[in-house]
Symmetry: D2
Subunit: 384 residues, 4 copies
């Protein structure tokens, strides 16, 4: 190892620089991770655009503490462990060793607040800190983002061993696949009386970006029937089809009413069982609700920064329609390891190798970020 670490630093919205940092000292229980690959996420794009009030209304709300090292969809190799006091375990209770390939859960929780004690499945910690977002690089040990050669993994951060044989470009999908536990969660609402996510159900995914694609994959893995995807990019829609969508509707080629009618015509006039919002634009919510059957589920997952308001009729959209409108941010901690297992298990069904469409070296991080905002890409990654 050299004695400096290079990282891409967002010094303010719209401005990225490559900076050098000293090699960090590790506190008790901390890890040093040699980053192999790190995705560019929608959150990163929002931060770049200055939309830094994210997850407003949550206790984690705060302005971003620039300068930061972005990047939280991280796969890397354990380069160093401070386990002098006691063994450092991964999330599943297995001891970590130098050389292990691991995935990171970017959300670091306190483990002691009311929410950590009572809603432990999800990162609803009152003192939540997200890698690549909530830590400034201005203070030591600086390295809290994945767009860097090395990262410091805190003692209470959750990491997961990557199974042998799972390709790096597939493993890097794991955080987004864990987000798709939005759909697993719907099992909690399942009954044989026509509630929740049932086998052969009709699922609409609004948006064919990386998050949308992961929901397509998960819906297919879990036994969905017809899957319909909407987006404005033919490039993305074509990939959605490859990943299991039965129907891909380009919103530039159709009216809202035509799309609603299409879903209804597929379902004997009744509407979809589940619609998942993976676009991040407020207005699509109303279209999605109209696509739903009576008693259907709408998962609001994509509007994770403020995008405006929609005019909802409590009578017509909610009460009379018996809708279940579920706001979801984030992923359960328990979703990482099963997601990696399933990606390995279904490697002959899904073309996982096509998910990462663009790789950039650390020096071209800004180009990577700009690329990720264009319609002709799926996942863009940094390879430090």
């Amino acid at each position: 190892m050299s004695d400096i670490v290079r990282a891409a630093v967002m010094v303010r919205p719209g401005k990225i620089e490559i900076q050098e940092f000293p090699f960090p000292e590790l506190e008790d229980g901390a890890l040093l991770l040699k980053v192999e690959m790190c995705g560019v996420c929608g959150t990163d794009k929002h931060t770049w655009r200055g939309e830094t009030k994210q997850y407003a209304g949550t206790d984690a709300e705060s302005d971003t503490p620039f300068p930061i090292i972005p990047g939280h969809e991280v796969i890397g190799i354990v380069a160093e462990i401070n386990d002098r006091r006691k063994p450092r375990l991964d999330f599943n209770g297995e001891r970590l060793r130098v050389g292990d390939r691991i995935a990171l859960c970017p959300d670091v929780i306190c483990g002691e607040c009311y929410n950590c004690r009572h809603t432990f499945a999800y990162p609803r910690c009152e003192h939540l800190r997200g890698y690549g977002n909530a830590f400034t690089s201005a203070e030591p040990p600086h390295l809290f983002g994945g767009w860097a050669e090395y990262m410091v993994i805190l003692p209470n951060a959750f990491v997961y061993k990557v199974p042998e044989g799972l390709p790096l470009r597939v493993a890097v999908m794991v955080e987004l696949m864990a987000v798709s536990y939005n759909l697993d969660k719907m099992k909690e609402f399942f009954t044989l009386s026509g509630e929740g996510f049932g086998t052969a159900d009709t699922v609409v995914i609004q948006g064919a970006g990386p998050m949308g694609i992961c929901h397509v994959i998960k819906a297919r893995m879990m036994g969905a029937g017809d899957i319909i995807v909407t987006d404005l990019s033919d490039y993305r829609l074509a990939l959605a089809r490859k990943f299991g969508a039965d129907y891909a509707l380009n919103v530039n080629d159709s009216t809202e009413q035509e799309r609603i009618d299409f879903v209804r015509s597929l379902t004997h006039g009744r509407g979809a069982d589940i619609v998942v919002e993976c676009v991040g634009i407020a207005e699509v919510v109303l279209e999605g609700i109209e696509m739903l059957r009576k008693g259907g589920i709408y998962i609001e997952a994509g509007n994770f920064v403020e995008t405006g308001e929609v005019a909802l009729s409590p009578h017509r959209h909610l009460c009379a329609k018996n809708i279940r409108l579920i706001g979801m941010t984030n992923h359960p901690f328990t979703g990482y390891t099963p997601s990696m297992k399933m990606m390995q298990k279904t490697a002959d069904i899904f073309p996982f190798a096509e998910f990462v469409t663009h790789e950039y070296p650390l020096a071209q991080t800004e180009a990577a970020l700009l690329k990720s905002m264009e319609p002709d890409c799926m996942k863009v990654v940094i390879v430090p």
Copy 2:
């Protein structure tokens, strides 16, 4: 029995007359019910005001076929049965006999459509017809509403024997108590990870009318912790307190923010676990959502006619808050008998006798209806 039957007929919105009808012939499996008591319901008030597009967006949507005999919260005595072909059973499979006291489920389903087959717990029938609402009195056998001396109960209508010893004025609450299965339904969402309706949870009921009171009772029966009720009538709030509400907030004496702050102060700043909308005004939805904790449940139950739109932020109100917003109309068929059993069982805890505050004879039906729209009453009933 005489050979004519008197009934209150709403000939058009705002106009009620007492009319006489011939004694009906009963088809195979039908019952003749001698009405003992019939409530005046919110639906009846909407019809009176000409708000006749109810449950819009549902397949049962239609204008009301005036003239109609209103009234669907009915308790009566079986006066005649056409069971020549086979025994007529109540919903629980018990044979009905002349002289039985029964409660009526006003929603008559076809039993054969897709929704009847797939979401059988609730009356989501594609050909749903509601007593007191969907049948014209212009055609024989005319008597399809409870504001009458007698009613015709169709062969496929569900009725329930009233247990011995349950007073008439308590039994008449049963339809509304079945509506409060909105809360039972939330058990389906329960997990020990902080979802659904848990023991000691904080529950807000918006609105202290009859539907609100029944939700107070049910929340208390099911093990709620603090129950907060809001309304604009001190008369109704006082009754809500008697029926188990811990806190009663008059919206005329407080600002929206004060009420939200009150709920937060009760819950260590976190917000209520469950809020139930029993007001029927669109705007209250936003106040209710603000009262909720992260991950809480909002039950939209009261806006069963169109009342306008609210401006909802998909980001702030839904996604970031991890809310479960559940639209509910109606009641499960299986909710009637347990509700009557529980009202009998908890007769020493709840002052059920105070629920019906005003009784009117058939001749004064219009006065009853007008009374029910004032703030100084709870349940108003017709006693034919």
Copy 3:
């Protein structure tokens, strides 16, 4: 059509004859079905062996009313409908016409008893009558079993249109695929706190007969991780592997402890998440429970006739292990149509064409039955 109908009649246990019956008259709402294919089921084998007390402890318990026409896994073409009074609908509310290919749900319910009203998803009717089992052929219209050229479908029997393009030999699996809703049902127990059937869970299927194979398929469709199957037939285990099982253990080549150890070694010593009993031998229950993780689910589905007792320790097997031991018979009515849709949708993943291994004409029904009891077959069918 000729004016006689030939059918295989089991006149008593161990004795089958081909008999001729008159063409039936159809009552209001009844169908005449031209049988295309009908499976030989485990139930039929039990009846043949004289194990005619089936589903003991249920209200449907009774001795078989010999002579009977067996056969209840039926696919056929609607040959005639008595819909003079009103349209005859399939289970999904769609009108049936002569020439439609349909699948039959063999369980005919009364629709009016307590169980029909309260546990409607499953055939728990107090007056349940099963096609191929509960009707004698001694009385007109005689034709209540699938091992016949034609069957009479009662007005209240549930049938399902077979989708265009689903091969006959695949469609005939539908009743068993509906039985595999045992696994869908486990979603009702799902929570993110480690309960129920989660994505990537380890599933053991005890028994690789037709019912076991259908559970393998369904587990795979629903996102299982490792699937382990046990059986005594290498022939059946090989098929189980083709249908998605990851591991196939022949009980003749291994000890009970070795199999338990194998499951534990796959799961870091913890045990399987779900074990499904599809063998029909009492003793396997203890082996299955030992294979389970703490908090796991054991589905007892295969012992549908009396097979003896097992010595269970309430402390060790149940309480200390936090097991969920779920007794399941039968299938939900709502499971047929989604099963057919999924078989069509996953035709490139599962080798459905290999499920039916032996076809026999009606005249060789006894040979078919004997064949089905040997280890070197999967589904044996009659093609009248």
Copy 4:
């Protein structure tokens, strides 16, 4: 404070001595608790009798490390806190201060093993250590049981503030009330199709000891219909009636068949919805299963030491009956605070003051233990 601490030490099964220990030093995050009251639990009786293999089959299985200080149903006052490094929080995230009255969750988990990460609601830790049971008093700081003047509360042990105004003798019930979350858990199985614990359901509690009584209370709090309790002590059955049981059956005055028939006669021949085993004798399981309706739930909670085996028919008792047989040990961590809130809230409904029937000073601990094994007591407590 004096400089010695007296405690009751079980030096071996059947032998208790009062010993003196030095005042302890507190490690970072530890508390010193001045014990106000500590219950005598069934577990303590088993240990006294030498039945020290408890929760066999669990990873916590081990022989008891005599000498031990028993006692784990503890209420006390915080006497000292080592919070020099950081604030010590209670389970709900509230800072603890000297003088706070707290309840203890006796199960101390590691928080890092697979089970802690994946089934966090319940104490299924692979390294679980129970206060009053798993710690020897032979090593410093010695004081890990509640039958003592003071206890050491470990940094990672969960404690809960006792609400103002909740009497000590009521607060001491909290651990057992948390065990009654066995019933809350059944909400996870609830559907409107007749599964799980529904309003007005018939509940049988086998055993009227302290654990049985707490289940009676909880069933009543949660909206049970008829509650039937069985026991051999008229003393206990009389208390069960006071706490809300509708029917109390003395097993010495009735045959097993009579009790089964009684439950069936109450339920139109169908059987109870839920039966909870709180006796701790293997044989009662079969009686309980016979009392259940088809599709009912049996909760095996009382056999927490090995008590022998029962002969179960997989066909008749499980498969044909569609039973849900749920093994449960222990309580969720999240059950303590709501239990205390509900005991306060329902103080006018339940005679909580009668739950503790016998108090003993520390010097008479052995007498307390012997008393607790007799039929004419409910909860026996030590008041140091």
